[in-house]
């Protein structure tokens, strides 16, 4: 009787999962006239190779003086002169500049074979590192607010949870209008509360604000979900503990610190793990709102996997990205599990 469900989960989850590991080491494409070949770790090198170049200022071959341009600034060789057609440093061939900094007279340049993917990894981690604690904390705050004994409190619970049932695709398109630069609702509201002194911002069109805007919207949509999980944790804490601390004259903070928080330990682990997993798979918001832009400020790992595996029909690279994501997610959840393990007294 367990066979149909087992077969479906096996065929459509376990088999593609294992196939992903296999494709990641091949040159598999969606449609190709050539047979698929084993290519070793080439795909991973294409995605992950990094290097550091040290650019020394150009010197006059005769005097060894540092060459200066008209404005008196030292001139440096271009990164391209090293990474293009340079048989002396074959590893750097085809790499592009990711970022650079000055180190004494020299410039250190970090080059990557796939700069866009590097940005995708950084953005995804930024998203997770901000969303996981922030969304978890806001959700807990909301859960404590609606755990008060007040008439009609359930109405508020219903309202706070409402965006969770709305598709993130719908929410993303709706917020695209709210975030819009010229007629956006958010600019209008901020203008109203600052008596018109607020300068309108094109929230999604500006690389400094785009990721933050997506973070705020994502929290708005999903926070009710985790609020409900916190709430079910809060309701397992015996009322008698609060009554006892009232008798002892505990402050609100002491009650939270010594009664509520210890009682929520398992819930906290669950909320943290669930938000982290969800945050790592950030895709729909990007696809609807920014397509990874402006200038790759909102590229993410899953968005890159879809770009390669679906848009470019390059199953091998898409699979390699999925494998990288899986390894990241599993590593993080093992670390979380280790850090939150039951400490033996």
């Amino acid at each position: 009787m367990a066979f149909p469900a087992t077969a479906i989960i096996g065929l459509f989850i376990i088999v593609p999962f294992l196939l992903g590991f296999y494709f990641a080491f091949t040159n598999q494409r969606m449609i190709s006239p050539n047979p698929t070949e084993y290519v070793g770790t080439t795909n991973f090198h294409q995605l992950l190779d990094l290097g550091v170049l040290t650019l020394e200022p150009e010197r006059d071959p005769a005097t060894h003086e540092v060459k200066k341009d008209v404005s008196g600034v030292a001139t440096y060789p271009t990164v391209r002169s090293i990474t293009r057609n340079n048989p002396d440093m074959p590893y750097f061939d085809g790499m592009r500049e990711w970022f650079s900094w000055h180190s004494g007279d020299n410039i250190k340049v970090v080059v990557a074979r796939d700069v866009v993917f590097m940005k995708a990894i950084v953005n995804t981690f930024l998203f997770v590192l901000i969303v996981a604690p922030l969304q978890g904390a806001i959700a807990l705050l909301l859960a404590m607010m609606i755990n008060q004994k007040l008439p009609g409190i359930n109405i508020f619970r219903t309202i706070y949870f409402m965006p969770v049932v709305v598709s993130i695709v719908v929410v993303s398109l709706l917020w695209r209008f709210i975030y819009s630069g010229d007629n956006g609702l958010l600019n209008a509201i901020l203008g109203f509360f600052t008596f018109g002194t607020f300068n309108p911002v094109d929230w999604l069109g500006n690389s400094a604000t785009a990721l933050g805007s997506i973070i705020a919207m994502s929290i708005w949509q999903a926070v009710g979900f985790h609020m409900v999980i916190w709430l079910s944790g809060l309701q397992t804490i015996p009322v008698s503990l609060y009554e006892a601390s009232d008798i002892e004259g505990a402050t609100s903070w002491q009650k939270f610190r010594f009664v509520t928080w210890p009682g929520l330990r398992n819930t906290a682990i669950l909320v943290l793990v669930v938000i982290t997993m969800q945050a790592f798979t950030l895709f729909s918001q990007i696809a609807v709102m920014t397509q990874g832009g402006p200038v790759d400020a909102t590229q993410t790992i899953v968005f890159q996997a879809v770009q390669h595996g679906y848009a470019k029909q390059d199953i091998a690279t898409g699979s390699a990205i999925s494998v990288i994501l899986f390894i990241i997610v599993i590593t993080i959840s093992l670390i979380q599990r280790y850090l939150t393990r039951e400490k033996l007294a």
Binding site: Y160, V169, A287, S322
Partner: protein, 290 residues
């Protein structure tokens, strides 16, 4: 006696933060519905004032008519409802039957297979989507056109991969474990087959967990985006979330967009408001992992 006034006014103040937060959650959705009733020109002008949240000015349903003209909205709605309903029904049946077998029957390898199935809870669709795309493109199908290879652009590619999932199996297994076994033994002694035990003894008791699994599956399926985006190049099989693309263009007609968003969202919101206890209980129950 002034006890009533002193106890009443502080509790009134306790509603203030609750109401402020409620407005943050309500306003974007309320704005969406109001905007769907306004011409795009007025919608843009209104967004500079509180008129954005009010049904004022030139109110009509013309955006809805325009949306139906721009895209086959009725087809998208039908596709979504059909795919979601079929998948929910299939998943409830297959997963409850499987869970029944895992909990009540004795067979070799049972615990190992259950452990492997539950491990797949940590694999999100985003990680397997790309290899799964290639896999479904090579699968055979026997349909009205005889034997065909490749499931792209079809209903089955959106239904069958999701017709069983580890979360639903897990929910049923957790629930069945707590049911008293004496009833089953009694039914067996009276000569009932395992199928009869399943649908006459166990499933009539499984209302709450069935509701939970159905709601979670419904939300996941109706709101799905990445997978249908990858497998439906043909308009004929697109669900509502992929149909949104018809409204992305250089000069977005925001009035029509808001009408379409309202149309595909409000039924879910009404469904939620009617069954909100069950919705919230279903999320809460995923949190109580043993």
């Amino acid at each position: 006696m002034n006890t009533s006034s002193t106890s009443l006014s502080p509790s009134r103040w306790r509603y203030l933060p609750l109401v402020v937060v409620a407005l943050i959650f309500i306003f974007p959705l309320e704005f969406m519905i109001m905007s769907s009733l306004k011409p795009s020109q007025q919608l843009l002008a209104d967004s500079n004032s509180f008129r954005a949240f009010l049904p004022v000015g030139d109110i009509s349903l013309s955006n809805y008519y325009a949306a139906f003209e721009r895209a086959p909205v009725a087809l998208f709605l039908f596709n979504s409802v059909f795919i979601t309903a079929t998948t929910v029904v299939l998943a409830l049946f297959l997963c409850s039957v499987a869970a029944f077998s895992f909990v009540f029957l004795q067979w070799r390898g049972r615990d190992t297979i259950l452990t492997i199935l539950l491990t797949t809870l940590v694999i999100p669709i985003e990680i397997i989507a790309v290899p799964l795309l290639l896999l479904v493109n090579k699968l055979p199908w026997i349909g009205l056109n005889g034997l065909t290879i490749g499931w792209l652009n079809s209903y089955q590619v959106q239904i069958i991969p999701f017709s069983a999932d580890a979360l639903s199996v897990f929910l049923f297994v957790q629930y069945f474990k707590d049911l008293p076994r004496e009833m089953i033994e009694a039914a067996r002694i009276e000569g009932a087959s395992w199928w009869q035990v399943y649908y006459k003894v166990i499933m009539p008791l499984a209302g709450p967990v069935t509701a939970t699994a159905a709601i979670l599956k419904f939300l996941a399926m109706y709101n799905q985006f990445l997978w249908p985006l990858m497998v439906t190049q043909a308009e004929q099989y697109r669900p509502v979330m992929v149909g949104l693309q018809y409204f992305f263009q250089l000069n977005i007609a925001w009035g029509e967009v808001m009408a379409y968003l309202t149309l595909i969202t409000v039924p879910v919101l009404i469904f939620y408001l009617l069954l909100q206890r069950a919705f919230i209980a279903s999320i809460a129950s995923t949190g109580i992992k043993g």
